[in-house]
């Protein structure tokens, strides 16, 4: 697991975050997915990954209501979904929500998912990390460092994707 992190900035939805320099990165791979970053491995085991997604939310929707809706949908979206923990936290000096859950991937791998979500106006932003459950201990500190580095812009920066 790498220790070197580089700052990455994404113009829309406007955030920057430290990412492992040697992980594979996909920018805007699909609608509402800003980046997907995957661990490089020499074997064919599950690749730990981090995904930043965005949601355009209706007026007046708060963090609690938004997350309650997501929690309702996750058991239908993920195999054998099991919620292990959730809490209110602070992320980039703003209220955020964290959930810890377990599910089985389509290829049968038992994985642990952590998701941090925060709101800026009507824009919701989530960072989701997924790792082979039995490798959680070896990735926890790295993912915590990455998530702690997240900075969300109130207004999108002028320049687009940039790695420094």
């Amino acid at each position: 697991m790498t220790g070197q992190l580089l700052r990455y900035a994404h113009a829309t939805p406007g955030f920057s975050i430290d990412l492992p320099s040697d992980w594979e990165m996909q920018v805007d791979p699909q609608p509402a997915v800003a980046i997907a970053v995957l661990e490089q491995r020499d074997d064919d085991a599950f690749r730990a990954n981090l995904v930043v997604t965005t949601d355009d939310l209706p007026d007046g929707m708060d963090l609690t209501f938004w997350q309650a809706g997501i929690e309702e949908r996750l058991p239908d979206a993920l195999n054998d979904y099991y919620l292990l923990d959730m809490e209110n936290v602070v992320l980039d000096q703003e209220p955020a929500h964290r959930r810890l859950a377990h599910h089985i991937t389509g290829s049968g791998v038992a994985v642990t998912m952590q998701q941090w979500s925060t709101l800026r106006g009507r824009r919701g932003l989530s960072v989701t990390t997924t790792v082979d459950t039995l490798e959680l201990a070896s990735t926890a500190a790295l993912f915590n460092r990455i998530v702690a580095s997240l900075s969300v812009a109130d207004d999108p920066p002028a320049r687009n994707d940039e790695m420094r």
Binding site: Y82, L84, E87, L100, H102, D132, L134, E135, A137
Partner: protein, 252 residues
């Protein structure tokens, strides 16, 4: 002797003598013919009289690690389970609600989530409870189904703290409901490993505490469900801790 087997779902429920007979057959040891007949009639044996391979009994006779889970509630309800973990699979023997034993098989990588489900791990409050220590001989009173014994120990703990969250937590312990659970995993010790890891936890609607031995006392420390989950994901032995490869075969 009772054996209930659904071949469609592979759900097997049986009593202890039937399970012992099944393990004996799997190990190639003679079993009581009457038991064998019942196992055969229930469909737990194949046409050649061998234990069905999809029941996971191979892990039971040749495990890399063995786990035991015991849960006791404030009302004295006891739930016990045992699991045999091998690279090819994890096999669990859990007490079913009807008192029979249920044999469940999963991939070994699902051992942590199976245990999390068994103990009902999930979101809990995180009150600012202060850690405390209790003389070891008083722990059995604290987790007793006898309210009077429990109350006396809770009073001692409450008298020793000025922290309102701790006092409130101790009140919950005295009143219930709660579960006290122990998960122990053992494997043959090697130079790099003692061959055992365990988690002792107290679970109330007011949050979780983890218990650990400190000399003649037991320490009670608040822990989040995330913290318990991390312990569960690390409880199986890794490759370096067992003589012939890790319990999951994943190199974890």
């Amino acid at each position: 002797m009772t054996v209930l087997f659904d071949a469609g779902t592979r759900r097997l429920r049986l009593d202890q003598p039937a399970f012992d007979a099944l393990v004996a057959l799997q190990a190639g040891v003679d079993a009581d013919p009457l038991h064998v007949k019942k196992l055969h009639a229930a469909g737990a044996l194949d046409s050649t009289g061998q234990v069905r391979s999809d029941l996971g009994l191979a892990s039971v006779v040749d495990p890399t690690a063995v786990a035991e889970l015991s849960m006791v509630s404030d009302a004295g309800r006891l739930i016990a389970g045992k699991a045999w973990i091998a690279p090819a699979g994890a096999t669990y023997l859990m007490t079913a609600p009807d008192g029979l034993l249920e044999v469940i098989r999963t991939d070994p990588s699902c051992f942590p989530i199976s245990m999390a489900r068994a103990v009902g791990l999930g979101p809990r409050p995180r009150p600012p409870v202060e850690p405390w220590k209790l003389p070891t001989e008083l722990v059995s009173d604290l987790v007793s189904a006898d309210v009077g014994r429990r109350q006396r120990v809770c009073d001692l703990i409450a008298d020793d703290t000025a922290n309102p969250a701790t006092q409130e937590y101790v009140d919950r312990l005295a009143e219930g409901p709660w579960w006290y659970w122990i998960l122990e995993v053992q494997w043959p010790a090697v130079v790099e490993s003692s061959g055992m890891r365990a988690i002792h936890a107290l679970d109330t609607s007011g949050g979780l505490l983890i218990m650990s031995e400190h000399g003649d006392a037991v320490a009670f420390d608040p822990i989040s469900p995330t913290g318990v989950w991390q312990l569960l994901t690390m409880i199986l032995p890794g490759d370096h801790e067992v003589a012939f490869g890790g319990a999951t075969g994943s190199g974890a």
